[in-house]
Symmetry: C2
Subunit: 620 residues, 2 copies
Amino acid sequence: MRSRISVDSVPSAVATPPQPYIHKVGKSPKQNLVEEFTATVRETLFPDDPLRQFKDQPHSRKLLLGVQSIFPIIEWSRHYSLKKLKGDLIAGLTIASLCIPQYIGYAKLAGLDHSSFVPPLIYAFMGSSRDIAIGPVAVVSLLLGTLLENEIDSKKNPHDYRRLAFTATFFDGITQFILGFFRLGFLIDFLSHAAIVGFMAGAAVTIALQQLKGMLGVKNFTKKTDIVSVIRSVFEAAHHGGKKNKKLFWVPAIAPLISVIVSTFFVYITRADKKGVAIVTHVHKGVNPPSVNEIFCTGSYLSKGFRIGAVAGMVALTEAVTIGRTFAAMKDYSIDGNKEMIALGTMNIIGSMTSCYIATGSFSRSAVNFMAGCNTAVSNIVMSVVVLLTLELITPLFKYTPNAILASIIISAVVGLFDVQAALLIWKIDKFDFIACMGAFFGVVFISIEIGLLIAVSISFAKILLQVTRPRTAVLGRLPRSSIYRNILQYREAAKVPGVLIVRVDSAIYFSNSNYIKERILRWLTDEEEYLRENHQPRIQFLIVEMSPVPDVDTSGIHAFEELHRSLQKREIQFVLANPGTIVIDKLHASKFADLLGEEHVFLTVSDAVMTCAPKNEEA
Amino acid sequence: MRSRISVDSVPSAVATPPQPYIHKVGKSPKQNLVEEFTATVRETLFPDDPLRQFKDQPHSRKLLLGVQSIFPIIEWSRHYSLKKLKGDLIAGLTIASLCIPQYIGYAKLAGLDHSSFVPPLIYAFMGSSRDIAIGPVAVVSLLLGTLLENEIDSKKNPHDYRRLAFTATFFDGITQFILGFFRLGFLIDFLSHAAIVGFMAGAAVTIALQQLKGMLGVKNFTKKTDIVSVIRSVFEAAHHGGKKNKKLFWVPAIAPLISVIVSTFFVYITRADKKGVAIVTHVHKGVNPPSVNEIFCTGSYLSKGFRIGAVAGMVALTEAVTIGRTFAAMKDYSIDGNKEMIALGTMNIIGSMTSCYIATGSFSRSAVNFMAGCNTAVSNIVMSVVVLLTLELITPLFKYTPNAILASIIISAVVGLFDVQAALLIWKIDKFDFIACMGAFFGVVFISIEIGLLIAVSISFAKILLQVTRPRTAVLGRLPRSSIYRNILQYREAAKVPGVLIVRVDSAIYFSNSNYIKERILRWLTDEEEYLRENHQPRIQFLIVEMSPVPDVDTSGIHAFEELHRSLQKREIQFVLANPGTIVIDKLHASKFADLLGEEHVFLTVSDAVMTCAPKNEEA
């Protein structure tokens, strides 16, 4: 009688049960083993469906598409126009002027004396990013230099040092090529964004401090510090100018070259090197000689070269792929990470045979390239040719370039890697990410660049492991005047249903977390029972586990369910499942757990389950 | 006009929008950093809330509870009764008779000659499992023997071999203790059930083949093989008998001891050893001497001992904790895995100082203990005392025990580890798990026990990595006559809403998968758009991402959202989120992505989102 009145007294829309028709939990059509395996492999290695365009095409077309997919230049060169060339030419000249002094500086970081004009050429033919600027970069040069120096003293044994550098470059290329070819590119996703931000900032500080030492070496001599500080302030002003006005992008870009020219000229005229100003002195002239014979094929240096190459190769890849993706997203074209890796790998393999060391995409030069209006990889070709001509014709003049100028150029290039904004954002969004970021940063600054990298990778992995061992669970309650069940901690108005405990599990239930999930659910139950006992309320009779967010269970997960079911039986509580997904329902049947539980205890929604389990409560 | 008619012509329950009142997406109260950090640490390291009982207690009571939690014997001994003692006595005697011949056999596997009666004693005071039977086990003995033999030849240098064995045992204990003390016990969850099944079966086959060699060594001599085969068939018959009738549990349990006694007596009488029957010959008499001084404290053997101890310790832990949990679930009491590890660690540390090698929980003896009606860890004390007396009094007689008998006892003990049923179930439930299982099995059988273990761990990790890099996504459709949206592959009757694509993401969005999720969503969109274009249907205007199953996003996840939003804007599609959880909504706000997207594009349910985005479609 009472329940009738209460039904009449609330608005009809609420009194009507929201789902008058109870759906059955669906099953998907059975897949056989081969289909299942193929689907998993495809989703893991080919999530981007790279063969889509090959579908339903004649053989000749397939061949053309195949060649095109290795050399994207064949495709885009057909639509190439004079207008595009203009943009590429300007961009190419701009990045060339930026990179020439950087090349010399970075080669010094790596302890080498050769520049890399071959890799950008190869990349132009094989790469699919339109904006990336290829060449040596500060962080990888420093990492390579540090790792090489650990093995061979570059002062005592410069020949073997050079050989090991080419060996490392060769294996860097091999690593990148193999990762791309076997479509294992997703492995670089294990370096988290936060760890990269910290690592880069740490590397920037390390490099800047190193260079500052070089700059301060000049301090004893008249006026030089002033020149340096003037040049630096010019840089900074230009840098800001370039940021404020897009038309002025070329100011920061050519400032380094101009200051190199001016200072070199100044030193040459005054012969300041005789008065103690440190200069570059040794610059290798001319085109890079072949270096195939210099790569170690046997001995302990082979394995050392492999190790160094693999480590540096992963870091270089991460940088290049991040840049490629960032600019592709800006211009809304897509990049196949694995194809990029093949291109990067090939260019480094060939680079290692032509006296070049590891090249990758440069953050700063790619940004300049983008702002200068590049359209295709032709800007890399232009840059490469300009670098080649410079090396051939005017290299000897660089001999008089003061080291302090190179140092300041390197410093201004790496300053951009110290990204405080990104770190602040990471702090705001995710504290754990911030720890990873700081760990990598302090690791690089206070210990070494390798240790920093190791810390970054370890913390990233720790986060993944934490995610899979300690998934979240939530107790659900019903939102007033609805059949929606939500986390009671998030929705204060959500009310628990008397006699029923509803728990949602937010993860696949695998061996790594099955035991935790079981115990966590039992703990929710114990807490709730304790509370109910203290408040003299009716005891729990049904435990509903909301399975919507659970994409999969494995054998250990099924075991956990069985144990949970047994524990609940001992406490006289009925175990109920709501909305298991396709794979879960298949496995519940395969393992006979569905029979053990009873089909009637598996529902399509939490609301259905509550209605059936506690019809009186639902009406009230 | 038309829409009015259509509304009237359908039943009213459907025409009424199911949720007349649209709820706002809830926010949970802000936590400060310390609270957030504490909550994470607590959930990671103390998911079982071990300090719960200490809450609101006076100091003296807290101290008592603290001592009790280290020595659970204080608690349960107060309720100990004569009736319980009877069960424990029978169980203790039974497992003692089972373990004496096993001890001798397993010590041979490990290349040692001492038995372990100290660890079960220590465990009885500190452990919380009531059913586990502690002692050396076949797999760990073999693993330890193999790892030790890799470093030192036990024939050439038995003294150092012994010392390294105690060093390894010491560090095995230290590893277990530290894992427990720092509550890192969840690390053993990374060995998946499937991998363990494969590993154990592989170890069983390896051990059985090794022992078979020992048994076949007897073949040349009269009648011996017959005895062996007779004994084996007796074993098997007894084994079955024991399985069929719970009262007969003691038949398989004491059969080994009886056969040892009978055969030893037979050899002693006939002096068959003189005629070529291999016998044990050397058995160490008396109580174990102290061995603290034998543990390596310096040198390369220290680090080797540590490595061997850590590996064997993890395997031993996995076995003990699995056993503990299994029997606890059967009798419905709970076990604190971390406290168990402290108990196991302590007993092995003390064991290493009293000439014992690694002890852990034995599958077969624990099962016998359970069936024999043990009530508490007192059965371990009984067993320990019986073993001690046996060692002291009648050890010299074991000298005449034929090796073939020991071999057959070991074989019959490890046969149970070869669990075909479990492997079949794994095959049915999860094919990937089955690969892990087979990988571990064949690794152990065809390569070595360490490689098998490595394969098991690697495959387990690969599965975790796959899980976090390639989460599942699903396109949702509306179930007829409801406001429920479900995977269209699972529910054939679910219908897509024209102009709207609804995608559900089934995982936290972290750096390891953010890029994949973004690209996968875009691929769902491209596929759908292609299909619509081919069928001349209206284009997609809204992309709704169902966030219910997404417990968390990190910085990379937010970046992926931003890039997705930008891509969708280019295609003139509105990005809409449905039901983000507390943490996700907080982070969307912290990163300002919520502002970028617009608060009005975040909904409580998919149904709300669809109603607002495409009201015409909803009505039709």
